[in-house]
Symmetry: C2
Subunit: 351 residues, 2 copies
DNA sequence: ATGAAAGCGCTAACAA
DNA sequence: TTGTTAGCGCTTTCAT
C-alpha cells in the first residue's frame, strides 16, 4: 500500500500524501509521538516505537522535510557552488565533499555557477531562499557585494582553492604562487633558458605566474613570453598554442602551461611537428590530472590535492554545523611538484 | 542594512530573518500584497509594487522557499541522481541537464549514489522527504522495489542511458547493443580475426557485448576472449589488461574495450611493449571521451551523446513539470561509430 | 487591486 | 513517556 495514490503521466501525479496524523491514528498514538519515534527514538518506549514503525510501514509514510525544516528551523541542505562539474578538479573536490558529508544528516545541493570560474551573484542569490544550513564554494567568491551578503547571512561558508587571507568565513585552499614557484625553480634547476608561460593570467593565474617568476629569479631567469589563454582549456588550444609560442619566441626550450590539458595538447602537437620533448623542448602542466603520469612522455605537473580539498572543506563545514568551534578557519593544502620526463634535461637529452 | 543580524563564527549565526510581515509594515501594505508583488507582479498596481520593491531593498528581505513550498505545495527542487560526478560521461550529461533547467523556476539538487553505477535504494529514499517536483537518474534504476516506490510517488521521473522498454516514467537513453554492434561490424569490415572484448559484462556491458557479437556474426566471427572488468576503469587497468589478453589469446589482433580509459591504457602499454597499433593490434574504446581523437594513434570509439542525453532528459522533465503532455516518453539517442587510426587495417598496415 | 482569515505538515515548548 | 497547544512563514481562498 503506497503512500500516494498512483497517477502516472498526469501533470502532477501526487494525490494524497500520508501525514504524521495518518500514522498516528493507525498506531493509536498522538502525532508528536510519531514524530519523536522517528527523529529521537530514544525518547519513546520501545513498544510504542514498534507500533509506530509498523504503522509507518503500513501507510508508506515519508516525512515532509519541508514542513519539518520550517517548524524546526534546522535546514539539512548544504549548498555547494561549482563553476563547472565538467572540470575534473572540481569533480574530484566534490567527490571529497560528498564523502565528507556521507552519513551526516545533511544533503548537498549543487548549484552550477557557469562555465567561467567566476561565481555569479545572481546564482548565489537564487539559492538563499532555501536557507541552506551551510554553503561551499569550489573557488573563491570575487564579487565584493556577494561576499558582504554572505557574511550577513550568518551561515557557515567555506571557500576553496584560493589563498586570500580574508575569507568570508572559512577557507581550504592551496597556494597558486607556491605551485608556480616550484615550477620556476624546477625549470631553473633543469637548466632551461628560453622560457614561455601559457595559460590563465588572471586571479589564480596571476598568482601562479608571479610564483613562477619568483622561482626563476634566483637563476637569473624570467619568462621570455607570456601567452594569456583565459578561456576554457582544451587539447586543441594546447596544440595551436605551441605554434604561436615557437613563432613568438624562437629558440624557446621550455613551456609552462597553466593546465595539463593545454600541456598535453602541446605534447601531441610537438610530436606532429617532430619536436623532441624533452630533448628540444620541455613541457610542463598544472593540476596533475590522472593521465599526466601515463602519457608519453610523462608530463611534469603540479599536484593540487583536489579531493582532499573538497573533503577537508566538507569536514570543516560539518564540524561547524555540529556546533564545534573551528580553531583554524584557514587551511592551505600543500602543492607538490611532480617532476617527470617531459621536463627532464639530463645526460644526452639534448642529442 | 542587512537582512539578518551578523554573528560570525557562532554555531549558527542567523538571528533575525526578515519576514514578509516586516516588509509589509515597511511598505504600508498587507503581507499578502508583498507576496503578490514578488510572485505575480501583474496583480499589483505599479505604484504599490514599487513601494514593496523599495521596502524589500531596505530590509534585505529574501523569501523563505521552505515556507513558500510548504504552503503552495509547489516544490522547485528537482533531484538528479548521479552514480559519480567524476565519470566524465555523467558530468557532461549533468551539464546538459543544468543547461536545460537554466532560467526555469527549478533548482537541481544532485545526489551521488556511489562509486559503482548502481543506484542504492537508500540514497533514493533519503531525498524523498524533500518532495522534489521531479527526479532524474543518470542511469537506470535496477532495484525493483525502488522502481515501484518511485512509480507510486506520482512524481515525474526520467531515467537515462538505458534502453529498457518499461521505464519508471520517461527515458532518454542510447542503445548499448547498437554501440556494440557497430563496433563488431567495423571489426569485421577491417578484416580483424582474433578478437577480444575487455570491460563491463553486466547490465549495459552485457548489452554491448551482445551487440558486438551480433555485429561480428555476419563475418563469421566471434570474440575469442571475453575479459570481464567490472570495477571502475582506469588507465592502469587498461595497461595490465593487454598483458592478460595477449597471454590468454595468442595472436590476438583486435581488442574492444568497454571504456576509452581502458583502451588508452592499452595503447600506452602497447607502445611500451613495442606492439604496433594498429599494424599488429587494433584497439577500440567506448564513449569517445574528448582525448580519444587527440591521442596517437587516434582511438576508434563509439560516441554516445552524453551532453544531449542530459539536456534532453532535462527538457523532457521540464516540459512535463510545466503541465505539458509528453508524446514520446521513451527516446533513444543515436550512437555513432568514430572510426579512427587505432583500428585501421589498410594498405601496408600489416607491414 | 487589496486584505482577512486560515492552514500547509510538522515539531518546540510546555504540560501531565 | 506521552499528549496538548501553538506557530514556523508563507500563500490559498474568499471576501471587499
Amino acid at each position: 500500500m503506497g503512500g500516494i495514490l498512483h497517477d502516472t503521466n498526469k501533470p502532477t501525479g501526487a494525490v494524497r500524501p500520508v501525514r504524521v496524523e495518518d500514522v498516528a491514528r493507525e498506531a493509536g498514538v498522538s502525532p508528536i509521538t510519531v514524530s519523536r519515534a522517528l527523529s529521537s527514538p530514544a525518547k519513546v518506549r520501545p513498544e510504542t516505537r514498534q507500533r509506530v514503525a509498523d504503522a509507518v510501514a503500513r501507510t508508506g509514510y515519508v516525512v515532509n522535510s519541508i514542513a519539518s525544516t520550517l517548524r524546526s528551523g534546522r535546514s539539512s541542505i548544504v549548498t555547494a557552488f561549482v563553476a563547472s562539474l565538467q572540470n575534473p578538479h572540481f569533480a574530484s573536490a566534490m567527490q571529497g565533499t560528498v564523502d565528507a558529508f556521507e552519513g551526516s544528516r545533511y544533503h548537498l545541493m549543487f548549484a552550477q555557477t557557469g562555465y567561467s570560474e567566476e561565481l555569479r551573484a545572481d546564482v548565489v542569490e537564487s539559492v538563499l531562499p532555501f536557507r541552506p544550513a551551510g554553503i561551499l564554494f569550489t573557488g573563491v567568491v570575487r564579487n565584493e557585494d556577494t561576499r558582504v551578503a554572505l557574511k550577513r547571512l550568518g551561515v557557515p561558508v567555506v571557500e576553496m582553492w584560493g589563498d586570500r587571507p580574508d575569507p568570508i568565513d572559512m577557507l581550504v585552499g592551496s597556494s597558486a604562487f607556491e605551485g608556480g614557484r616550484l615550477m620556476g625553480e624546477h625549470f631553473g634547476r633543469q637548466g632551461l633558458r628560453r622560457i614561455a608561460y601559457c595559460g590563465h593570467t588572471l586571479d589564480r593565474g596571476a598568482e601562479r605566474l608571479t610564483g613562477f617568476r619568483a622561482g626563476l629569479g634566483p637563476f637569473g631567469l624570467a619568462p621570455g613570453l607570456v601567452l594569456p589563454y583565459e578561456g576554457t582549456r582544451t587539447f586543441g588550444e594546447g596544440m595551436s598554442a605551441i605554434d604561436h609560442i615557437l613563432a613568438a619566441l624562437p629558440g624557446c626550450d621550455a613551456i609552462f602551461f597553466g593546465t595539463d590539458l593545454l600541456a598535453v595538447g602541446a605534447l601531441l602537437r610537438a610530436r606532429q611537428l617532430g619536436i623532441d620533448v624533452p630533448g628540444q623542448l620541455a613541457v610542463a602542466g598544472y593540476g596533475d590530472l590522472d593521465f599526466a603520469e601515463h602519457i608519453d612522455p610523462a608530463l611534469t605537473s603540479i599536484r593540487v590535492s583536489d579531493y582532499e580539498m573538497g573533503r577537508d572543506a566538507g569536514a570543516m563545514l560539518l564540524k561547524r554545523l555540529m556546533g564545534q568551534r573551528i580553531e583554524q578557519p584557514i587551511v592551505l593544502l600543500p602543492v607538490q611538484l611532480m617532476a617527470r620526463v617531459s621536463t627532464q634535461r639530463h645526460a644526452g637529452a639534448r642529442e
